[in-house]
Symmetry: C2
DNA sequence: TTACATGCAAACGGTTTGCACCCGG
DNA sequence: CCGGGTGCAAACCGTTTGCATGTAA
């Protein structure tokens, strides 16, 4: 009774000429038994608690692979290496971020802001600020390269 | 010919019983002469380049004040201390994050997703993924406390 | 005059890396 | 058998902090 995500990951690794080791299998299992968010350390502690021994390094090396394979998403990147921009006298806006050239394109949509407000109201959540980052390829990079 | 943001910052500091030092004035000026994004180190280097001497520590201590005063916004918090969640077999969703209790409430809106797609199309941006984080107070925390 | 601020350098802490050994294909 | 993987511990590096000194109000 193999789990679906096992197959996905295995095939992803195979395609890249990488190996499906028992450590990677264990990490995958740990990730998928997490109920909500986790950070690498959470994961390590939880696995240790279950008597599974993997190194912190392996976790750090495996998570990007899971990310790349689409099995997990990165959320809530907090605190470290902060970037800022001054907004006084300018409006709030969100960002389109090109994954190839790193260009950051500001984006503002009144409709988008309104919609977010409505959603918060529906959840009875008092919204103070928000950050929207859309990642992908800008026109220039998208046309330049055949594919990702 | 004092700049508007000087006044705003000065008043903000005064209200908190803090001082408007020449270093803080210099940092403010540096921040407002930045064209786009910057990180603390960018700022330091740029200021050094102009012969302005402030310590890295002062920059790190001043940016949160500027943030709190509403003069700048934090964007693109990258890389460090990453959080993940597995998404395979579950849908993509965004997050409401309570600044008091830290609770994370998943949020999904088809309308929101669609709108983002449209905006990208308009910008000729090939969207791959996005992250939306709305920060504020959850129902429980918002009603519990008098004010922010 | 007296908190509060500054600069410096050391400490912190999450993440990455070098290396010797291990193992999946 | 071999190229990639692992664990360990050290290195990294952005950020924070302790402390002696400086200064705005």
């Amino acid at each position: 009774m193999k789990r679906m995500e096992d197959r996905v990951f295995r095939e992803f690794l195979q395609k890249k000429g990488l190996k499906f080791t028992k450590e990677r299998a264990a990490i995958l299992k740990g990730v998928f038994s997490a109920r909500g968010h986790f950070d690498p350390d959470d994961l390590l502690i939880k696995m240790r608690g279950k008597g599974i021994r993997v190194s912190k390094a392996s976790i750090y090396r495996t998570l990007p692979l899971l990310l790349e394979s689409g099995l997990i998403e990165q959320v809530l990147k907090v605190d470290k290496h902060a970037h800022y921009e001054h907004t006084f006298g300018r409006g709030h806006h969100d960002h389109l971020i090109c994954l190839k050239c790193g260009k950051v394109i500001p984006l503002y949509s009144r409709k988008l802001e309104k919609l977010q407000e409505n959603l918060c109201r529906k959840e009875k959540f008092k919204c103070l600020t928000h950050t929207l980052e859309i990642r992908g390829y800008c026109l220039r990079c998208n046309s330049k390269s055949g594919l990702s």
